[in-house]
Symmetry: C2
Subunit: 335 residues, 2 copies
């Protein structure tokens, strides 16, 4: 079979097949809503929308929302609408991230800033943000608007902190976790919350699902940060090493700096302070002599375990078992 | 009295005094809500919020919303919340505009991109957008979320069209009006709609108020575009000539090109195609020999007259009279 740009790598774990079997039809419905919403009478905007639809990703957030719904009592129409909403918000943050990172490709496709320009990216991200709120407001109550407004606001706070801390070689683990808690985990958390809430789960279960998805989001981001440092660009489907280029310290680097003795630590700081296109290779030998990568993977796995514990309040079900597997997958993923 | 950065020019028309008298206390309440909402536990974000609060503008949108409410039956708590929401959205679009325009100052204050950087501006604009939606979702129904989501989405479409048309020296009046209809008039229109809707006005009145505010928004933008070409930087409180620098054709330039005969039109096209810091001065003699500025002002005044006609379905009241004056003011304003 010929590979096309959006295909996951052939070693994609079996969890995706399980997801497909459990909620494949619902994910398709959500995709249908997304596709239907993402049209525009303006041919230019329609053109960009068409381009961006090729950023076909892992659909992690819609999966989380729909599986949580299923595990908490059943998927309703609201869940499918909200799955489209969270994916739209996620794509909006990606489009703006690509401006910030000056990235050229995203899932093997030219970024909006590369294909058009930064102005178009900024406005198109805004277009997606505002459209997602409009769609969320099509539900009968303000619950989703409130939850999504709050979560996306915290995503922005996390990203603003990250920008401010750029170049800070003394970044602490605590601040790192605060940043990724905002920029990544909040949007996951709201997927758990909305999945459970709109399935009429009781309050304690809603909170547990929110906590499950938050822990999973943290694990996912740590794995992403490890990948940026040690991964393969083809299977990741995007430019790597961008954290180093932008002087964003991530968990493996924080650990590396904390544990490397002299003279290594001085050399590493020099490399980090003056990044170039070879920084990733130059750091590799230091990382090999260190426990930094394993330490980070272990933290991700611990968070995955925490996530799984939050599932214990649910009755056993296929969707609950898949949620447990997704947590593990998020921590171990290679793409 | 010492002038401070945020003061309006001393020739500010008496309409502002009338607004102050009619709804000064309500505007203050809305400002209070805005100030209360725009805080952050993160000291960096709090710092940017503090800085941006100095972009104290004309508060046109909150005024429109509150005066419409008053003219349609009375100002309620929801109106004050929504006045804060629309102002927050407006500031979000300004912050992103300043990135797009590479502007250094805004109301005599350094822009976020100049004071921090573009990344911070993009994310901070997103922070304001998402926060405004969160605040809109604090009301008891989804009506405002839906209306605001839709309007802001059309603002983005208008701005995206504007970017695409940059450098198009053959831009038509029709496309110009479609662009400003999105980027400026929609957010004004939603102020009229929300003001009337939340005052429990009947459907025909709600539509009339939306149309009033849309026409006013168009008049306001034409006046802004004339100002960018002919205004004084101090009284405008921002860098001028940016439309020329960014090769955005506005109504006076479209008219100038349509009416200047050869060889003038060729010279003007040359100036527009290769903008530099003196383009505004170099165009001045061509504008003086043309009716382009007067033509544009006349269009703005016609739109103001249309806006006033939409007020006729309301009973006479102080607020209705002020709304009529604001339409005139929007078209004639010098700042």
């Amino acid at each position: 079979m010929k590979r096309t740009a959006g295909d996951p790598p052939t070693n994609a774990p079996g969890v995706l097949a399980l997801v497909e079997e459990a909620i494949g039809a619902d994910l398709l419905d959500a995709e249908g809503i997304l596709a239907e919403e993402l049209h525009s009478a303006d041919p230019h905007v329609a053109n960009i929308l068409q381009h961006v639809s090729r950023f076909r990703g892992k659909r992690l957030r819609p999966m989380l929302l729909l599986l949580t719904a299923d595990a908490c009592g059943g998927i309703r129409h609201e869940h499918k609408v909200l799955a489209a909403v969270v994916e739209m918000i996620h794509v909006a943050t990606l489009v703006h991230d690509d401006v910030l990172d000056e990235a050229d490709t995203r899932r093997h496709v030219a970024t909006v800033n590369a294909r058009w320009n930064n102005e178009t990216s900024v406005l198109f991200g805004d277009f997606l943000f505002t459209h997602s709120f409009h769609l969320a407001a099509s539900l009968s109550t303000t619950h989703a608007c409130r939850a999504i407004g709050r979560a996306t606001n915290m995503v922005c706070e996390g990203e603003l902190s990250q920008i401010r801390e750029r170049g800070n070689l003394d970044l602490t683990e605590e601040t790192y976790f605060r940043i990724i808690g905002g920029k990544t985990a909040e949007l996951c958390a709201v997927c758990g919350e909305l999945g459970a809430h709109y399935a009429n789960a009781e309050r304690a279960v809603v909170t547990a699902m929110e906590d499950y998805a938050r822990s999973l989001g943290l694990a996912f981001q740590i794995a992403d940060d490890v990948l940026d440092l040690t991964g393969n660009e083809w299977s990741a489907g995007k430019s790597l090493g961008s954290d180093l280029a932008k002087q964003k310290l991530t968990l493996p680097i924080i650990r590396l700096l904390a544990t490397a003795g002299e003279p290594g630590v001085g050399e590493i700081r020099q490399l980090l302070a003056h990044p170039d296109e070879h920084t990733r290779e130059k750091l590799a030998p230091y990382l090999e002599r260190s426990d930094a990568v394993q330490y980070s993977v272990d933290r991700a796995l611990q968070l995955a375990a925490t996530a799984r514990r939050h599932l214990e309040c649910l009755p056993d079900s296929r969707s609950r078992r898949i949620l447990a597997e997704i947590a593990e997958f998020a921590a171990r993923r290679q793409f």
